[in-house]
């Protein structure tokens, strides 16, 4: 069987969706950088970048070019190979997640029957990047930052996993497409608001965003795990952080806000034929943008936690709460069976 015969229309569609998704994700990261600076400026009553291109829109491109042209410094006695691999890991894992996220009806890269597990597995790999970066740098700040990051991401992965498990309870499937379709009538945020809150907080922590950015708390740890990174290697950590913002928003949209469905859409949305695809994508991206905006909004509004507060919140508040939430939902569903 030749390779061409394998390329069925379905497969080509998947590839196209994945390509489009990855392209969107990369661009969204650039846009998010720009948006972050503009929104920050707006919140702080400043102007923000407005010189490069119309309204400063080309600023991210200038940033990337600058980073690429800078000198790549690897600290002496650092582990060169690991030092190089570490920044690639978060970028790769972030890109890999778009494969199973449905952007619209039928618009999904791969409708895996274990899509939810795939998402959790891939996103949890990101912790290796920061830990290895901290270890390979041969610097105290980097090591502590990396360790903090590892402990923090592990701690918040648990409530996140429990919150997603409660979504799986409601959807009755591990397929992301099924999860979205189960919300045609009712978004899960209305049935499972606690799960949403937990997931949202945990997603902030997983992306190491304020108020959980202790990993790179400047006042204590200089740059945290990327203290010893420069040039595009640093740029890749930066890129990954903003890709995680987008992905976190996409996941919140998918798991709790009905993905590409408008609220209660099965009740009132008329059949609009092929325009539906366009509507789906618009709705999905709209919701994603809103949550990406709230990431930025939170960053410039809320101060940073102390590390013991962070761990206490994760272990003694969110985790028990998420477990109890899971049990309550399971029992209610069981009673209503």
């Amino acid at each position: 069987m030749g390779l061409l015969e394998l390329l069925t229309p379905a497969l080509l569609t998947s590839l196209a969706v994945i390509g489009g998704g990855a392209f969107f994700l990369l661009n969204s990261a650039a846009l998010a950088v720009y948006a972050e600076r503009r929104v920050a400026a707006f919140i702080q009553n400043r102007v923000g970048p407005n010189r490069v291109g119309p309204m400063g829109l080309l600023q991210p491109i200038a940033d990337v070019l600058k980073l690429i042209l800078k000198e790549d410094v690897v600290p002496a006695q650092g582990n060169k190979v690991v030092h190089a691999i570490a920044p690639m890991i978060p970028v790769i894992t972030a890109l890999m997640t778009v494969a199973v996220i449905p952007f619209g009806d039928g618009l999904v890269g791969a409708n895996l029957n274990v899509g939810v597990l795939y998402l959790l597995a891939i996103t949890s790999l990101g912790v290796y990047g920061v830990t290895l970066a901290g270890w390979a740098s041969n610097s105290k700040y980097a090591l502590l930052g990396g360790l903090r990051a590892a402990a923090q991401m592990l701690s918040y992965e648990l409530p996140m996993g429990m919150a997603v498990a409660s979504v799986v309870l409601l959807a009755g499937s591990l397929s992301v497409v099924e999860v979205v379709n189960a919300q045609r009538d009712l978004w899960f945020v209305f049935v499972n608001p606690i799960g949403f809150l937990i997931f949202f907080i945990a997603a902030l922590a997983e992306a190491n965003r304020t108020p959980f950015d202790l990993v790179e708390a400047e006042q204590e740890l200089v740059g945290g795990y990327h203290t010893e990174y420069s040039s595009m290697k640093f740029g890749m950590f930066f890129l990954a952080e903003y890709m995680h913002v987008t992905i976190g928003s996409m996941l919140i949209t998918t798991f709790f806000f009905g993905g590409y469905h408008l609220p209660f859409s099965s009740h009132w949305l008329p059949d609009i034929g092929n325009w539906k695809i366009l509507l789906d994508i618009t709705v999905f991206l709209g919701k994603t943008c809103f949550f990406a905006f709230s990431y930025i909004w939170i960053r410039w509004t809320i101060p940073r936690f102390k590390y013991d507060q962070l761990m206490r919140l994760g272990w003694s508040r969110l985790l028990p709460l998420s477990i109890v939430n899971f049990m309550v939902i399971a029992i209610v569903l069981w009673m209503m069976r």
């Binding site: 590839l15 600290p75 013991d308 206490r312």
Partner: protein, 127 residues
């Protein structure tokens, strides 16, 4: 199977290549002017003091151990959560007991201050 996982494989290859390209690009285009001070680990402008890879708090290990326990719990929950409405009462209550036992374990570790990062209260609780 192939139709499902081939796109993911393609995406993985693309992601790796993209990361490599970015990495190599800055390696080629950037200047190379290393010197001894530049290659020193950053320590607020001072000469580095002592070992970088020093001993660190045992709490990090405790977090890792706890994580394994509860992550495994979550892993057990997923297949059950998908099918639990089709299973009998035994399976339902068995899982409830399982979760409760682990919840009690969590209460125990929290009360004991295993995950308390504020060292003054932690020492008090562990005693």
């Amino acid at each position: 199977m192939f139709e499902l996982y081939f796109p993911i494989a393609v995406l993985a290859v693309v992601a790796v290549v993209l990361a490599l390209v970015l990495m190599v690009l800055s390696g080629i285009l950037g200047p190379k002017r290393p010197d001894k001070v530049k290659l020193m680990p950053y320590e607020s402008g001072m000469d580095p003091y002592g070992q970088a890879r020093d001993r660190y708090s045992v709490s990090f290990y405790l977090v890792a151990v706890e994580f394994i326990v509860f992550d495994l719990e979550v892993v057990f929950l997923y297949p059950w959560a998908v099918r639990f409405l089709d299973l009998d009462a035994g399976a339902f209550w068995a899982m409830m007991v399982f979760i409760t036992v682990l919840l009690l374990g969590l209460v125990y570790t929290l009360k004991k201050g295993t995950l308390d990062w504020d060292s003054s209260t932690a020492a008090h609780n562990r005693a």
